[in-house]
């Protein structure tokens, strides 16, 4: 190894430098105690990255640019220096002792991020989409509805949810609880909106994608409820041959037999389910697993996989405060809630009529379905619940409606005994409850308040304490499938396969009675797992993949500064018109109302989510809120978005003034389209005279987009177009291919002078190449992290599909 003699800075001792592998004179220093080698002129950050130390955060540094030290994220402590110094700018020197992680540095970095976010007038991922169990692209379909494109909106929803009309009526809308519009005024009627979109095209429903060619695989879906039908829908789209088998005459499961007509009309259910049958899915009714056939029978009949979606149809018995139970079969006047709703929806006689006095017990959805059905039948109805109003699992609207329609609420009341005269029920004795001391989970359980017993005279009692699946026949008829002590089917949590290979399960029978949307979500995931199973994939890998894809809260609430615009309320059937009939109570939006309501969406979605360094670091530093909400308008900036350029979208609201675009455009590319403008807090990167990017000398190279650490500069989604060029003058030199700084011409198969087309053998331009071009562009988006850590593999960040910046 050659050595050169040179004075070492600071020591003056005339030591000789070693030369490193590149022939550069090198020396060593330490980062967090680790000895690293650096060459003269190298910065601390660059030496760290070269040695695999990748956890020094930075937002404004790029290898090809001069450092600017603006973001203050890469600050490190250097022994002997009074204050932290930015590692991107400080040259490494022999013997430096660098510390990259201290409490003080973490505080500065975290506060820097907070400061950036406090003026980052934008959002990462829409919380509604995370809140929804099926993760519908909510801002996407709301934008489409606002633009009047209802069919496309329905198609977008159907990518993850096959029954948007049904869910629009029956879903408890967990998405709306998360709606960020509530920070401005009121949440958006997100759920009702996809119902509206689907209703507009219910006779000609779109499919999310074209159905794939038949695979020749057969899948049996047992149970035609939301989970089963969802699984059937997506399996059929994948080209599998699917047969749905149900014990009831008609498909729909609980949504047909458990949900009363006034919430959801069954003729509309039939119309929506046509979307499933149109894909070639077969239906067989009147066939009950465990009675008419066994699981082995299905495999014997040649099915490759089975999905168990048998639901939870067994009502829990009435439980008195002394823990005794009574069941409807041997107690007069006691009605099974599920049978009651089922009989009513089928038009069969029910033991409730205008003379009846009914007590419904419980606080869930079924409780209020029974309550409101009984009210409509003319009965005098009491609804008793052992906890308070806030603890009810039914939605507040449903409770309010129940009361307004005529039911009487008895809160903090638990049944002690039934009072009978002979074989006739004459009343029920209830006792008042009070909240006890908090238990180990911190929840205050209701306890009996002795001596407060009271009686409600009645002739019918409907206990609606929830349901559980009937798995009594599993050991003999559903061979090899385990059940839990809660009578649910045991599966892998992510790929939904039971212990028996090829048998999957989801929905109420896997979770215990839950909401329709949760069942749909499981059906969808199970369909993907079954598809993978049928294609011979490793089940553990599928499980991992599905878990990774499951969206988790990602960030971030920033500045909702928007004018107030009141919610468009769903027109409801007046209470007096609801008496003694089962008319649909939600009357539906008019197209104008739907457009107006959809347009209220704040579009809390950023196309850079998942690729954004700011988001990545904010998650890393545990920021889920910032300390500077709710300021005055002059505390934040609200810039105009520049979408005039054909390829580059500019949203200064997301700019963090890192000036990477300024430097790359000036120093590397040359046109000098960007600069900093303004002073103090109002400093912002912009174009000269703030003209649109289109008016600058921009060469559309996209280098600024590539270096932008946030979503401030984004490539526009674009269709490739053919350009005219003078064939008679082109000499096919290929110079254009060579000079393009991004290999845009050289690496695509679509350009006839490209490397492939000039050099490759038999590579010709096909129509398909052009069709694949947009995907190709998306793949080309290079992860912006330095070193070899692609942003996509950060387990904390889940990318959204590429979307356009919204105006």
């Amino acid at each position: 190894m050659a050595t050169i003699v040179r004075e070492r800075p600071g020591t003056g001792s005339g030591d000789s430098f070693e030369r490193d592998d590149h022939g550069q004179p090198s020396f060593t220093f330490t980062i967090d105690g680790q000895t690293v080698e650096a060459h003269e002129g190298q910065t601390i950050l660059s030496a760290a990255i070269a040695h695999g130390i990748l956890d020094i955060p930075n937002l404004c540094n790029d290898e090809k640019l001069d450092p600017t030290s603006a973001c203050r994220m890469c600050l490190v402590e250097i022994a002997g220096e009074g204050r932290p110094l930015p590692s991107c700018n400080t040259p490494a020197a022999p013997g430096l002792q660098v510390t990259t992680k201290t409490k003080k540095l973490t505080h500065i970095r975290r506060t820097n991020l907070e400061m950036i976010l406090s003026d980052h007038n934008a959002y990462c991922q829409p919380p509604c989409q995370i809140g929804c169990p099926t993760h519908i692209d909510i801002p996407g379909y709301l934008e489409l509805i606002a633009a009047g494109q209802n069919r496309e909106a329905a198609r977008l929803v159907k990518e993850v949810l096959p029954f948007p009309y049904m869910l629009g009526l029956v879903c408890p809308a967990p998405c709306q609880e998360k709606c960020r519009r509530a920070l401005v005024d009121e949440e958006i009627a997100i759920c009702r909106m996809h119902g509206f979109a689907a209703e507009q095209c219910i006779d000609d429903p779109p499919t999310p994608w074209p159905q794939e060619a038949p695979t020749g695989k057969k899948v049996a879906v047992i149970g035609a409820g939301p989970a089963g039908l969802t699984a059937a829908y997506y399996l059929a789209l994948k080209g599998h041959s699917v047969k749905v088998i149900d014990m009831m005459p008609q498909p729909g499961g609980m949504t047909r037999y458990g949900i009363p007509e006034y919430r959801f009309q069954k003729d509309m259910l039939d119309k929506e389910l046509d979307g499933v049958w149109n894909l070639g899915v077969e239906y067989q009714g009147y066939a009950k697993l465990g009675k008419d056939y066994t699981l082995d029978d299905l495999f014997a009949a040649g099915y490759d996989a089975v999905f168990l979606g048998i639901g939870a149809w067994t009502s829990n018995p009435i439980t008195f405060v002394d823990n005794t139970e009574a069941s409807p079969e041997d107690t007069p006047g006691l009605i099974n809630a599920i049978s009651y709703l089922m009989d009513k929806t089928q038009g069969m006689p029910v033991p409730v009529d205008p003379g009846t006095e009914v007590v419904v017990l419980g606080g869930g959805f079924t409780t209020f379905d029974c309550t409101r059905t009984s009210v409509r039948l003319g009965a005098k109805v009491y609804t008793a619940y052992r906890r308070g109003r806030a603890e009810m699992t039914a939605t507040p609207e449903e409770v309010e409606d129940g009361e307004a329609e005529g039911a009487t609420l008895k809160l903090f009341s638990a049944p002690t005994k039934l009072i009978s005269e002979g074989d006739k029920l004459t009343g029920i004795e209830l006792v008042k409850m009070k909240l006890g001391e908090p238990d180990s989970s911190g929840r205050r359980r209701p306890i009996v308040d002795p001596g407060t017993e009271y009686t409600i005279p009645c002739n019918t009692v409907i206990p609606a304490f929830g349901q559980k699946p009937d798995v009594s026949y599993f050991p003999t008829h559903v061979q090899g499938v385990k059940t839990s002590k809660w009578s649910t089917v045991v599966t892998d949590p992510w790929n939904f396969m039971t212990d028996r290979p090829g048998v999957f399960s989801g929905g109420d029978c896997q979770m215990g009675a839950k909401t329709v949307i949760e069942c749909v979500a499981q059906g969808k995931l199970a369909a993907r797992a079954i598809d993978g199973y049928l294609k011979g994939e490793d089940m553990a890998a599928i499980s991992q993949r599905l878990e990774a894809e499951e969206r988790k809260p990602d960030l971030i609430s920033i500045v909702p500064y928007k004018p107030v615009e009141p919610k468009v309320k769903m027109p409801m059937l007046p209470y007096e018109d609801r008496k003694r009939n089962f008319k649909l109570i939600e009357m539906g939006y008019t197209p104008e109302q739907a457009q107006r309501e959809s347009a209220r969406c704040l579009q809390c979605a950023c196309p850079a989510a998942g690729q954004c360094d700011l988001q990545m670091y904010s998650i890393e530093y545990g920021l889920t809120d910032n300390r500077f909400h709710d300021g005055e308008p002059n505390d934040f900036h609200d810039y105009e978005v520049d979408i005039s350029h054909s390829f580059i979208l500019r949203d200064p609201n997301k700019c963090i003034n890192c000036t990477q675009c300024v430097r790359v455009c000036h120093d590397v590319i040359g046109p000098n389209c960007y600069g900093m403008f303004g002073k103090g807090f109002d400093t912002i990167v912009s174009t000269p005279f703030n003209v649109s990017l289109h008016e600058t000398d921009c060469v559309s190279c996209g280098a600024c987009v590539q270096v932008c650490p946030t979503g401030s500069l984004m490539m526009a989604e674009r269709e490739l177009v053919k350009y005219d060029f003078a064939l008679d003058r082109c000499i096919f030199c290929g110079d254009c291919v060579e000079v393009c700084p991004h290999g845009a011409l050289g690496e695509t198969p679509n350009f006839e002078l490209s490397f492939y087309n000039r050099v490759g053998n038999g590579v010709t331009l096909h129509m398909d190449d052009l069709a694949r071009a947009p995907d190709y562009l998306v793949d080309q988006r290079v992860p912006r992290r330095k070193g070899d850590v692609p942003g996509g593999t950060n387990p904390l960040i889940r990318p959204l599909p590429a979307r356009r910046i919204r105006e």
Binding site: I656, K679, G680
Partner: protein
């Protein structure tokens, strides 16, 4: 002007003849006649005199020049010299007065410094709005050029109007380079890598004037000041009504004595506090006026020498409002480059405005204390390092003002609310 601790400014000399009558250019001619030895002797004299930079930071001038000379040995030269004659603090009268009254003295200082470091090009960086000073200094420059006094030294006058940020040294260099005036990260220091990537010495014009004094008469210079900071300093003193006086005081004079010399009487009924150091200076209560006007004692009291401006605040001053006003000014003056300074000062001002408008809560004080350290720790340049002195001293010396405002009452009754609601932390998700 009363004497004793301060002396009147040296007489005006706007023509070469006048200046030469006041021993003008003798020091320079003596030094320049000796060549390299002369350069070394100037540096040595400055080192012996322990001259500290008058720009506010108080770095020993000789050390800086030595760094420049060393850097020239390794990086090449010739180095540049920049004379900072820019009154960043609009209330500072130093540069304006010296340029208008003693342009030749400033030029001689530049010439001595250029010789000491071996510079052949120097820039005189000043306020473009200072018309009198500009006229005087360009006339003097012409006369000096015509009199062949400058030798091979080129002096270029650069006039800018860049607000408070324009006084930051790296910003100054960017402006001279013709770039957007924003601060640059140090190290590397301008003394090593400055204009044209070459070593560049930056000195305040007052420092250079003191260099002339030192070379002329080291003993007279050493007579004044403290052992750590010998010599005198020009200070601009303002009374409550806003009338300013320029004084020359020896380092170590107490703030109270300076006020007395300026003819300002302070008392609890007329004075709420005294601001020392200009826009980034802290406020001292009457009990702290015994603080000596010197770098270290002022730092201990929570403020800085800064621009050498001393202002008296009237009895109606609410310190919450005063700190808000100062921070808001700094928010507007920041170059906007680094996050802590650009947004940190804005949030401090916003939080102070919340307290001042009686919508603050006690946890706002925790936030202010946190940010009083965060902004200096994280910031890129001296602007941010010193930006929280007003906040810190207000919190330190006037905690009751904050307490009263948090209870919904202004201590002086002078505050007019500017915010209708405070920042709120909301956990979403």
């Amino acid at each position: 002007m009363p004497d004793g601790t301060s002396r009147a400014l040296i007489p005006t000399a706007t023509t070469l003849a006048d200046y030469q009558k006041q021993r003008g250019f003798q020091a320079y001619q003596r030094a320049s006649g000796q060549g390299a030895q002369g350069a070394a002797s100037i540096l040595e004299a400055v080192r012996q005199a322990k001259l500290r930079g008058r720009g506010g930071a108080g770095m020993p001038t000789a050390t800086k020049w030595q760094v420049v000379r060393d850097a020239v040995a390794t990086r090449g030269g010739p180095p540049y010299l920049v004379c900072n004659a820019y009154d960043a603090d609009l209330k500072s009268l130093v540069a304006a007065t010296l340029l208008a009254n003693q342009p030749f003295l400033v030029l001689e200082g530049i010439m001595l410094a250029a010789q000491a470091i071996g510079a052949r090009e120097a820039y005189l960086y000043m306020h473009s709005t200072n018309r009198t000073g500009y006229a005087a200094v360009t006339a003097a420059l012409n006369e000096a050029r015509n009199g062949r006094l400058l030798g091979d030294l080129t002096i270029t006058v650069v006039g800018v109007d860049l607000g408070f940020m324009g006084g930051e040294e790296t910003t100054m260099l960017e402006a001279i380079k013709g770039r957007r005036p924003m601060a640059q990260q140090r190290p590397p220091y301008p003394a090593q890598v400055g204009l044209g990537e070459l070593p560049t010495a930056i000195a305040n014009l007052e420092t250079l004037v003191q260099v002339v004094n030192i070379v002329r008469d080291p003993a007279a210079f050493a007579k004044n000041g403290t052992p750590a900071s010998p010599g005198t300093k020009y200070v601009s003193v303002y009374d409550v009504a806003g009338n300013g006086t320029l004084l020359e005081v020896p380092f170590g004079t107490t703030v109270a004595a300076i006020l007395k010399n300026a003819g300002i009487t302070v008392g609890t009924d007329t004075t709420r506090g005294v601001v020392v150091g200009g826009p980034e200076g802290g406020v001292l209560p009457l009990t702290q006026l015994t603080t000596a006007f010197d770098y270290e004692p002022l730092a201990q009291s929570g403020t800085i020498v800064g621009s050498g401006t001393i202002e008296v605040l009237g009895p109606q001053t609410c310190m919450v409002d005063w700190a808000r006003e100062r921070t808001k000014y700094l928010t507007e003056q920041s170059c906007g480059k680094c996050i802590p300074c650009r947004t940190g000062t804005k949030r401090i001002a916003g939080t102070l405005a919340g307290i001042m408008s009686d919508v603050g809560v006690s946890s706002d004080l925790d936030l202010l204390n946190e940010f009083a350290d965060y902004v200096p720790d994280g910031s890129l340049c001296g602007f941010g390092w010193h930006a929280t002195h007003p906040l810190r001293t207000a919190l330190r010396y006037y905690p009751d003002d904050f307490k009263l405002h948090l209870q919904g009452k202004c201590p002086t009754g002078a505050c007019v609310p500017v915010r209708s609601h405070r920042f709120v932390t909301k956990g979403v998700l």
